[in-house]
């Protein structure tokens, strides 16, 4: 929709162009979230896509995903030798409520910064122990786990003027086996719960619960837990919530079920 209070679009070329950001000047990435709801508080937007960040960069440390990388680019990222988790990139894109046409514009960073519980890029990057790189408004850089970056339903650690620069998925994580489950109130509907399990080559097991909880929750085990343990631990999570996409008790119940399926798949 038209953002009628916005009177200026600044095309960022360097980091210094981001100094314009503030309470009434927002970051524009893909636009599918920003232009998807009224933003009457805004007077200007700063377009990040003109910074020209490479979307996906493979390094020895893993995969660096620019905040401006589109879901379309992510979904098409080619398989890398030994990257057992590769399929999760596409899987998690399919958990976006938006259509494949939205994938063509929506960005990984935008999805994270919106911090919706159903945000599938949160699911993906949290599950793969992604590390967020934040460009703080004061010019400093800060890195933190995605699980810390998202603080609640639609809240993050970002302050006005801060920008999410990238997310790095560590190499150990992308080389782990990953199982993905999503459930919604309709076959392809907005997620009620998205769970990913990760079994590292060393045998450690991490379950990441998103969608049904207000923020990503991780359960970490040195080895595959028993089904009963995992189930009990999922049921012990307290941060379930109710909205149009599912009641909290259902989210809790089906998450326990999906967790067991994941455990079985990663046997």
């Amino acid at each position: 929709m038209d953002l009628n209070t916005v009177t200026e679009v600044r095309l960022a070329r360097t980091r210094s162009d981001l100094s314009a950001l503030g309470p009434t000047v927002a970051v524009l990435a893909g636009g599918s979230a920003l232009y998807g709801e009224p933003q009457h508080h805004l007077t200007a937007v700063v377009d990040l896509t003109t910074l020209g960040w490479p979307a996906l960069t493979v390094t020895e440390a893993g995969l660096e995903i620019a905040a401006t990388c589109t879901l379309a680019d992510l979904s098409r990222f080619p398989a890398q030798p030994g990257w057992e988790a590769h399929h999760a990139l596409f899987d998690c894109c399919t958990a976006l409520y938006g259509s494949f046409k939205v994938w063509n514009v929506a960005t990984v960073g935008g999805n994270l910064c919106a911090a919706l519980p159903a945000g599938p890029m949160t699911s993906l990057t949290a599950a793969l122990d992604g590390e967020a790189l934040i460009w703080r408004a004061d010019g400093s850089d800060e890195r933190m786990p995605v699980t810390s970056f998202i603080t609640g339903n639609k809240t993050t650690v970002l302050n006005p003027g801060d920008v999410l620069r990238s997310i790095t998925l560590p190499i150990d994580a992308v080389r782990s086996r990953v199982a993905f489950r999503k459930i919604a109130l309709s076959p392809l509907g907005r997620s009620g719960a998205v769970l990913l399990g990760r079994l590292s080559p060393e045998g450690t097991f991490v379950l990441t619960v998103t969608g049904g909880t207000v923020r990503p929750i991780q359960l970490r085990y040195d080895a595959r837990p028993t089904a009963a343990t995992l189930r009990a631990d999922v049921l012990a999570i307290t941060e379930w919530f109710t909205d149009a996409h599912g009641a909290a008790d259902w989210r809790r119940g089906v998450s326990a079920l999906l967790a067991e399926e994941i455990l079985e798949e990663l046997a």
């Binding site: 232009y35 009457h40 259509s99 907005r190 119940g253």
Partner: protein, 1015 residues
């Protein structure tokens, strides 16, 4: 900046923050539609450098230097893109408002894996079709009659059964194809999977059935249903009969719709247009103590500001009916009391939407917040806030404003207690339905202006232009002929546009400013303030003898009409009508009440109350079948009203409602039961956690609303030898334009494509009550047929007077009239007859229209008053699998039996059934407007209000009864609302059968099912 659109370079300056969608529309690319403006519905889809995107969430500045392709750039009506041709051939649209985006998206998927299409199409929502026809388009299936087989049965009735000329035609579009459909296929694959070598999921494996044999019968003019047809005089060389009724003639607008050329309400550029924005109430119940408009009015670009202090003080109802007293007069254009969250507080008219929004923010409003009640069960209790205590009960027609009671109905037939005492088995339960949004893809909108004579003109998205004209004239104290209301093609309605939602404000603004004004509602407006389906609580108690005969039936209804009573009485009465009279019981009682609450207003939506009550009654009947150990189909056979039984609600109904010689319940029960027994080869998912069950439900509906539905139509043979059909009813995807052209063409023995059709314009065509109550075929169609039949006689008389050959000798052909070896071209007949004076005004009870532009030529008129009404039946059945661990309900088989009488256009009628079923599935499984503690609607965008997408709607096998109605044209009955009505109950009954626990609440969502099993 410069960018290309469909090969042409645009040099424009987008506003900062503008979306590509509005930039394109500002440049008259009206083919780019707005369905949601939030990136959810896909109606605005375009290609940018070949990549499909939702243009409503695409920043306009990013189009610089790029090539944009809209649906109009893919092809033209004369030169369709292959995908556009597929949508035409498949009849892959109804209102067509979503089609531009559908086609753009589909154009990028021609190489896609068919199994992936549900995912790839999930961002394109259609509210009309139920997706089967769209899926057919995606898979290249053709469903419309092809040239050469469009009902041309010159070799007599047997033509219907021959395949001549139809080779390769694989849908139900022509009678020959329909003839193949004696038994349903059992090979439809599971949703979401594709069996090798079979049809893709949801495509039309099978055409509709039933109408074929009937077609053969009715081609004989001696049968009752054929009496409307042109008579053959029995000469040795009979005139070829071009009989398009009974065939799947394609919609006349098809090529324009698939290319984006069809114009909808707001698809026009108006110089000097002002825009209107409404400030809405932040409180569910409050009194405005002051509004300071000074800052808003002073803002540059503001043309006018309206508050409750400067608008007419005439009470009205937003609901429109033929008889305006059916709804309470409880509404003001702008009121000083806010009765629901989101009610209009004030209105700003300005040079742009942005300026008007800014001015709204500058309005300084003070409120005295009042206590609010959101619970209909508390509405009549002492101490509960009264919403309309300031109204006079008689003048406003509110049953009791001092107890929030809008309408009530209490009555008993026989003796309920005696019936319960006599029962061997009793069952009872309470069933609750939810708020549902009609969600036509085109939001409500009106653009208005003053014409050269200073008359008010409203171009509006309405199902009822004539009723809008009448009420606008009343509210603003205008002479009726100072108001012209018309619609273009309307982008969906479903009852939601049987309302005044935008026209009053536009009138206000146009009259005050003298300038053209547009008001376009947002999708959030649609989901938060436009009236929703009435939530109803139905308590049903049934008693029966051991052998299954009903002895007692008690229906208690509480309907939440919300803050205003529009459609409140009507849906309450209708809800308790055919749901109760469907069954014979010597003892019946109905206690129904509709009450005000501080919730958003409820209104009209497909089925008009019936679906809600049927959910309760048919669930209770299912419980009774279980208690009796009886098959649910048999329980209906035993108790359903028969063709010779009286219709009883709380007393024997009046003789305006009859079976019309077309009782088809027995057939649709048989068709549905046998289809379910036959199965469709779709297996339940494996695993112990999946439980399989079957369920069915029945519905009856009167074919026309009670107390009069009027239509007058005219058909003119112009001096150029062409026919013009003029009819008042609006086209919103219901397909009446096609049906009317078929009816007129059959009466005049010509091709439906030969008609120029004018419709839904109070200046141009005769009066019509409106496109609601499923009246388009059986009322307006009847008027059209009468007009065309009268014209046919006039033309034969014209030929007779021209030649001296008696009238009886003349037969109409497509190009002229023939009597033996004599042939007179149509144009000669038209020229020979001095045109009779045509009526300049048409007076109908409750309405009057000025007819200023009747075409020159020979005109005949026809009318219908809808006074006699028939009854139609629908039976739906499901086989489902229910996952006990997640609550997922998977529909394995969906079967619908429809008693539509003679089916005038099988593909369109099938589409109406499928669309109704899809909305029923949405109601049964997904859709719910959720209201928060302060009365705010939490589901204010489509991503939070789940309209069914392609992946959510399984194919439904549709079976038509072979009945012929004595009242409808060619034996047709209405079939638009009714397919919706049995669906939620059928699903509930199937779930109950699968898991042994009964749902009592809609939607039967996964979390609710899970809780039934795991709580």
């Amino acid at each position: 900046m410069k960018f290309d659109v469909n090969g042409e370079t645009l040099d424009v300056s987008p506003r900062a923050g503008q979306s590509l969608r509005t930039l394109l529309r500002d440049n008259e690319h009206f083919e780019v539609k707005k369905g949601c403006d939030t990136g959810d519905c896909g109606a605005c889809s375009v290609l940018v450098d070949g990549t499909p995107i939702h243009s409503c969430v695409f920043p306009a500045h990013r189009a610089e230097g790029r090539a944009v392709t809209t649906v109009a750039g893919l092809g033209t009506p004369e030169d369709l893109h292959p995908v556009q041709q597929r949508f035409v051939n498949a009849a892959g649209f109804q209102c067509g408002f979503c089609t531009a985006g559908m086609v753009v998206t589909a154009s990028t998927l021609t190489d896609a894996d068919p199994a992936d299409l549900p995912r790839l199409m999930k961002g394109n929502l259609c509210r009309c079709t139920g997706y089967r026809a769209i899926n057919d388009a995606l898979h290249g299936v053709s469903n419309v009659a092809q040239p050469g087989c469009a009902g041309r049965s010159g070799d007599g009735a047997s033509g219907a059964a021959s395949g001549a000329g139809c080779a390769g035609h694989d849908g139900s579009g022509c009678p020959a194809a329909a003839a193949r459909a004696g038994s349903a296929s059992t090979t439809a694959p599971a949703p979401g999977t594709v069996a090798p070598g079979t049809a893709a999921p949801g495509t039309s494996g099978e055409p509709v059935t039933g109408a074929t044999a009937l077609l053969a019968e009715t081609a004989d003019p001696s049968t009752p249903a054929g009496t409307d047809a042109p008579a053959d005089t029995g000469r040795t060389a009979p005139t070829p009969i071009i009989r398009s009724v009974g065939t799947s003639v394609k919609a006349p607008a098809g090529a324009r719709i698939v290319t984006g050329q069809e114009r909808y309400t707001l698809d026009l550029a108006v110089p000097g247009l002002l825009h209107l924005v409404v400030l809405r109430s932040p409180h569910a119940h409050a009194r405005i103590t002051s509004i300071d408009t000074a800052a808003a009015a002073a803002l540059d670009g503001v043309a006018a500001v309206f508050t409750h202090e400067n608008v007419p003080q005439t009470l009205f109802s937003t609901a429109r009916h033929q008889n305006r007293t059916e709804d309470p007069d409880d509404t003001l254009i702008l009121d000083s009391v806010m009765r629901f969250r989101g009610q209009r507080v004030a209105v700003v008219v300005a040079e742009s939407i942005g300026v008007a929004e800014e001015a709204c923010r500058l309005l300084d409003v003070a409120y005295e917040v009042l206590p609010a009640n959101f619970d209909p069960s508390l509405a009549q209790k002492p101490g509960i806030p009264l919403l309309h205590a300031d109204k006079d009960a008689t003048e406003s027609r509110i049953a009791d404003p001092t107890t929030n009671l809008v309408a009530e109905m209490h009555g008993e037939y026989g003796n309920l207690q005696k019936g319960l005492d006599e029962a061997d088995v009793t069952v009872s339960g309470t069933w609750q339905t939810q708020r549902i949004s009609a969600s036509a893809l085109e939001t409500h909108g009106t653009v208005g202006w003053l014409d050269d004579d200073g008359r008010l003109v409203l171009r509006t998205s309405s199902q009822v232009p004539f009723l809008v004209q009448t009420e606008i004239a009343r509210i603003f104290d205008l002479e009726l002929d100072r108001v012209r209301v018309f619609t273009t093609r309307v982008g969906g309605g479903f009852g939601g546009k049987q309302e005044i939602q935008t026209e009053d404000l536009v009138t206000l603004a146009v009259l005050a400013t003298g300038r053209p004004v547009q008001y376009e509602m947002t999708r959030s407006d649609e989901l938060t303030v436009v009236p929703c389906r009435h939530p109803m609580r139905t308590r049903v108690t049934l008693g029966a003898t051991r052998d299954g005969h009903l002895t007692a039936m008690h229906v208690e209804l509480l309907s939440d009409t919300g803050a205003y009573g529009n459609h409140g009485p009507g849906t309450m009465f209708h809800g308790c009508a055919e749901s109760v009279s469907l069954y014979n019981s010597p003892n019946k009682r109905v206690d129904a009440e509709a009450v005000y609450t501080n919730n958003m207003p409820s209104g009209a939506f497909r089925g008009y109350g019936l679906g809600q009550v049927i959910f309760g009654v048919e669930s209770a009947m299912d419980d009774l079948a279980i208690a009796l150990g009886m098959n649910p189909f048999d329980l209906r056979r035993l108790n359903a009203v028969g063709p010779n039984d009286p219709l009883v609600i709380t007393h024997v109904e009046g003789d305006d409602l009859v079976f019309g010689g077309s009782y088809g319940l027995d057939q649709v029960l048989d068709l549905t039961q046998s289809a379910l027994a036959r199965g469709n080869g779709v297996a339940a998912p494996s695993g112990d956690e999946w439980k399989v069950g079957e369920g069915m439900a029945t519905a009856m509906i009167a074919t026309i609303p009670p107390r009069g539905h009027f239509s007058e139509a005219s058909v003119t043979l112009g001096l150029d030898g062409r026919y013009t059909l003029s009819v008042g009813t609006a086209e919103f995807g219901n397909g009446t334009t096609t049906v009317h052209s078929q009816l007129a063409a059959t009466a005049l023995n010509t091709d439906p494509a030969e008609f120029v059709i004018r419709q839904s314009d109070t200046d141009v065509v005769p009066y019509d009550t409106g496109a609601f109550g499923s009246a388009g075929t059986v009322v307006a169609g009847k008027a059209v047929l009468a007009a065309a039949t009268a014209l046919a006689l006039k033309l034969r008389e014209g030929a007779a007077s021209l030649t001296g050959i008696p009238v009886d000798e003349w037969m109409l052909e497509a190009d002229g009239l023939r009597a033996g070896s004599r042939f007179v071209p149509l144009a000669d007949v038209a020229a020979s007859v001095v045109p009779a004076p045509v009526p300049q005004t048409v007076s109908i009870p409750g309405g009057r229209a000025r007819v200023v532009a009747t075409p020159v030529g020979i005109t005949a008129t026809g009318e219908h008053d809808g006074a006699q009404r028939s009854l139609a039946f629908n039976v739906h059945a499901f086989r489902v699998a229910v996952h006990t661990g997640t609550g997922e309900v998977r529909i394995l088989q969906s079967v619908h039996g429809a008693d539509a009488g003679f089916v005038i256009n099988p593909e369109q009628c099938r589409g109406q059934v499928e669309g109704g079923v899809a909305q029923g599935i949405g109601t049964a499984m997904f859709e719910e407007l959720i209201i928060g503690e302060a009365g705010e609607v939490l589901t204010s965008v489509l991503r939070n209000y789940h309209l069914p997408s392609l992946s959510d709607v399984p194919p439904t096998e549709v079976y038509f009864a072979e009945t012929t109605d004595g009242l409808g044209p060619f034996g047709a009955k209405s079939m638009s609302e009714s397919p919706y009505n049995p669906v939620p109950a059928a699903l509930a009954n199937a779930v109950r059968n699968a898991v042994g626990v009964r749902p009592h609440e809609l939607p039967i969502s996964r979390d609710r099912v899970w809780r039934l099993l795991n709580a």
